[in-house]
């Protein structure tokens, strides 16, 4: 009886996850190991050529470099801006903190395409920034602010910033105030207390925020396309192009290179930050 | 005792969790209409035993019987029992009346009959006025009564209680102990409860089983367990005890002569000549006589006043001793020489002690 009931609970979600999450991804990997084909989805022979082509081509390597560069800048900016904001949020009294968090969560609920469109309206040739600068007389001709990599960085960073703030703010708010008090009792001033106590103890929040922003940056196709245009393509754009050209093995290989990149960077971040050593209370 | 008289029976029941044996080959019979307590320190297996009766745990070996029926394969919701949990487990989203009615509802009782049974049960626990309140609005003691009402209203074959009075303060606990006992006797329900408090077990129960490390050390009526503990553990767990070691030097029928530092004692014992035994004597049975009298010589080391009694800590040739004296009569001081004596029936030979 007990096992029958347990099966009723587990089977549906497990089936959904295995059939429509695990299976397709494994299938995609399988396809990435095949030759391309003109008539079918993919050819018959097994090969590693799809990966070799991408990793040996300077064009693709350049795209990967640009992707990593964009990710690095976005992470750095969202940390630099996000941490102080998270600190501010964490210091608020509980009721106000919830309202502030709600104000941060709300933009995340708006579709990325709408938020990217907002940046287009801001930075476009007839956008708010250009018309504003023109009417004040600073410029004569509109600036080309869109369709380049800095536009992608700016737009994507502000879209993902709330994730960073919320992760760190939750970690900071959960910190026992007494750790800081203990440090001060031992003679550490506000700066030293922050550097040696608060910052290290907030590492789990920093880690989860960083990982989330990283993963979302790598797959933010719509934002990258709208703000970057045809000349600022990143790795994810290549995947889309491959699919629309029906080059399935090629697109599949690109997808798994992206995944490998994500995993490698995740491992790197976890190794650098080592959030595990902070978990658990020091009682 | 046959099944018709035992409401609950456990036969050779064993239960392990991983490598830890919680209940080891336990045999238990609980007569109908009695309050039976499972007593022991943390980790002794008493709660696991209770949960095996309930069906929340399945035994690895052995069988569980309720009213003669083998219920081992039957899940808890089809067994004829109810339970009062340590945390009371009142349903927060239901009112007091709805909580109490829940079991009746599950059994398909009609609404009018339910209402009447519920108000009767609430009257029994003296909570009639609170029927429409919600659990979060009640005090701990009130919640406990609701839990009790909810459990008894369905007239179960056996009522299980898991440390039900643990969360109450001392005065409330003693009050509830008396009320529980009265309630059980009035209704004639078979009750099994788990406690680590030996005083509570002695107060409430008709029979007590002392457990240690998954094994029942001894079962019996409270007085019998207290006066005649079988071994050192039971003697020490049910209250304080004095221990004196000696060797049997002669036998005369069922009586043995034991050579102890206190001199020769005559006791009921089954051990043979030459065997070493340990004797237990309750502190309140250890009399203190003036130095001129006969008895075991001892010296008063410490005196602790305890209200109705005074505890005397003594040193003797047989080891340290403890004596409780009513505060009436002779007054002693630290350092006094006394002679300790006791009635022959007060000394108990303990099992299985090798010294």
């Amino acid at each position: 009886m007990k096992t029958a009931w347990a099966a009723v609970l587990l089977a549906p979600p497990l089936a959904m996850t295995l059939l429509f999450f695990v299976a397709p991804v494994l299938y995609l990997f399988w396809v990435s190991l095949h030759e391309p084909s003109q008539s079918e989805l993919y050819g018959a022979a097994l090969t590693l050529q799809n990966y070799a082509t991408v990793l040996g081509d300077s064009f693709y390597l350049g795209i990967i470099r640009r992707t990593l560069g964009v990710a690095a800048v976005i992470l750095a900016l969202s940390l630099l801006i996000g941490y102080p904001v998270a600190y501010f949020v964490a210091l608020q009294p509980p009721r106000r903190r919830m309202l502030v968090l709600l104000m941060l969560i709300f933009p995340l609920m708006v579709s990325n395409v709408v938020r990217a469109y907002g940046w287009v309206a801001l930075l476009g040739r007839r956008g708010v920034v250009n018309t504003g600068l023109h009417s004040v007389g600073i410029i004569d001709a509109p600036l080309d602010l869109l369709y380049n990599t800095p536009a992608v960085v700016t737009g994507l960073m502000t879209i993902l910033l709330p994730y960073m703030v919320i992760s760190i703010a939750n970690a900071l708010a959960a910190l026992d105030r007494r750790y800081e008090e203990a440090a001060q009792a031992l003679g550490a001033g506000p700066v030293r207390t922050f550097l040696h106590v608060t910052l290290p103890l907030s590492t789990p929040g920093v880690a989860s925020g960083t990982l989330l922003v990283l993963l979302l940056t790598l797959s933010a196709y719509v934002t990258i396309t709208l703000l970057g245009g045809p000349r600022s393509k990143l790795l994810v754009s290549m995947i889309y192009d491959g699919v629309t050209a029906f080059q399935w093995p090629h697109a599949a290989a690109l997808a798994f290179i992206l995944l490998a990149l994500a995993l490698a960077l995740t491992a790197l971040i976890l190794a650098l930050l080592r959030p595990g050593r902070v978990q658990g209370s020091g009682r | 005792m046959n099944d018709a008289q035992a409401d609950v029976r456990l036969a050779a029941v064993r239960k392990s969790f991983g490598s830890v044996v919680a209940v080891a080959d336990v045999d238990l019979e609980i007569p109908r209409g009695t309050i039976f307590s499972l007593l022991g320190p943390s980790g002794c297996g008493k709660t696991t035993t209770l949960r095996l009766i309930a069906g929340f745990e399945r035994p690895d070996a052995g069988e569980v019987y309720i009213r003669g029926q083998c219920v081992t394969p039957i899940p808890p919701y089809r067994r004829n029992f109810s339970m009062v949990f340590q945390s009371y487990a009142l349903f927060p989203h239901l009112s007091v009346a709805e909580n109490v009615a829940f079991g009746l509802r599950m059994r398909g009782m009609a609404r009018e009959h339910r209402a009447r049974a519920v108000s009767e049960a609430l009257e029994l626990v003296k909570l009639g006025a609170l029927a429409d309140r919600y659990p979060r609005q009640l005090s701990g003691g009130q919640q406990q009564r609701v839990a009790l009402a909810r459990a008894i209203v369905i007239k179960p074959a056996v009522l299980l209680l898991d440390e039900p009075l643990g969360a109450l303060d001392k005065m409330l606990r003693e009050e509830m102990q008396i009320e529980l006992r009265n309630l059980q006797q009035r209704l004639g329900i078979t009750a099994v409860f788990v406690t680590h408090d030996q005083e509570e077990a002695l107060t409430l129960s008709d029979r007590v089983a002392v457990m240690r490390n998954g094994v029942i050390e001894q079962t019996g009526a409270p007085r019998e367990m207290y006066d005649r503990p079988r071994n050192e553990f039971v003697a020490g767990f049910l209250g304080a005890s004095n221990f004196i070691d000696g060797t049997i030097v002669a036998r005369d029928g069922g009586t043995a002569i034991v050579e102890t530092p206190a001199g020769r004692l005559s006791l009921l014992a089954s051990a043979g000549i030459g065997e070493r035994v340990r004797i237990a004597i309750r502190p309140e049975r250890l009399r203190m006589e003036p130095a001129a009298a006969a008895g075991l010589p001892a010296r008063i080391r410490d005196i602790v006043y305890r209200g109705p009694v005074t505890h005397f800590y003594l040193d003797s040739a047989g080891g340290p001793l403890l004596s409780y004296q009513q505060n009436a009569g002779a007054s002693w001081s630290v350092g006094d020489e006394v002679r300790c004596a006791w009635d022959a029936e007060s000394a108990v030979v303990l099992d299985g002690v090798q010294t």
Binding site: T17, V25, A121, L161, Y221 | -
Partner: protein, 267 residues
């Protein structure tokens, strides 16, 4: 010493001001643009007009994209919440390696790059011949399930484990315990999970990008297509504003029932 505190406070305040401006400004611009009276966007607009909303509902592809998005979100949220709830109830009291693995598996879609999932699903659908709407619905169920799973898991684990046993001891079998005791106590978790799954589906891009087809697009994809091919942009602003408005109404309605604390804490 005091200087450090003042500097810290100034830094935090500035950063917060900058951050909120950058985060909120683009959204505000879009909403304002939706009420522009003219054919082109100018800021600040000379007056307010609802013409672009009228235009939105006049355009058939816009109307059907909106309708599809709502229908899809309703279905996906409901299915994924049911699935997430089942999974959470299964795992609520279970420990051990297998339980941890299952929990990670159920939460994985939250961190897995959904663009890759979109590609993978499209390939699989093409191979087995899956029709468009069911395929899209299943994709959104996968994406939305972790939200219900997470919130219900939190609610279920917060319950006194003795409650279920108390139900059993009174004669309630597993089904009646679930319906009468567990569900009434975890429903705020279920509801906020449903809300998040709805919102995620309604704004979802990465799988819809691949899995929508001619005649069957979601609102965000329709907006994206318009923006890419430089169609009449201000009707896009109206479309976007409608999307935002729906979310505001939904969050406000749920907040009324469940409270802000529930929505925030379970995030």
């Amino acid at each position: 010493m005091n200087r450090a505190l003042v500097a810290g406070r100034a830094l935090r305040g500035t950063a917060t001001g900058v951050a909120f401006t950058l985060i909120v400004a683009p959204i505000l611009i879009v909403v304002v643009a939706a009420f522009s009276p003219n054919d082109y966007f100018e800021f600040p607009p000379p007056s307010l007009s609802a013409r672009w909303f009228v235009e939105f509902f006049r355009l058939e592809n816009m109307r059907s994209a909106f309708a599809l998005s709502v229908e899809l979100a309703l279905l996906a949220a409901t299915v994924s919440t049911v699935l997430g709830t089942l999974g959470a109830l299964f795992l609520a009291r279970r420990r051990g390696t297998v339980a941890v693995l299952l929990q990670s598996l159920f939460l994985a879609p939250l961190v897995f790059p959904t663009i890759i999932l979109g590609v993978a699903l499209l390939l699989m659908y093409k191979t087995i011949g899956m029709p468009v709407f069911p395929g899209l619905l299943l994709a959104h169920c996968v994406v939305g399930m972790p939200y219900g799973f997470r919130t219900v898991l939190g609610s279920a684990q917060a319950l006194d484990p003795a409650l279920e046993e108390a139900g059993h001891s009174l004669g309630a079998g597993p089904l009646r315990t679930l319906l009468l005791l567990t569900l009434p106590l975890i429903w705020p978790g279920v509801l906020s999970g449903w809300l998040f799954a709805f919102i995620v589906s309604f704004g979802e891009l990465n799988t819809a990008l691949f899995l929508t087809g001619p005649g069957l697009t979601t609102l965000p994809i329709e907006i994206f297509s318009y923006l890419q091919f430089q169609g009449s942009q201000l009707v896009i602003a109206a479309a976007s504003t409608l999307q935002i408005a729906l979310i505001v109404i939904l969050v406000a309605a749920i907040e009324r029932v469940v409270g802000i604390g529930r929505i925030i804490r379970t995030r």
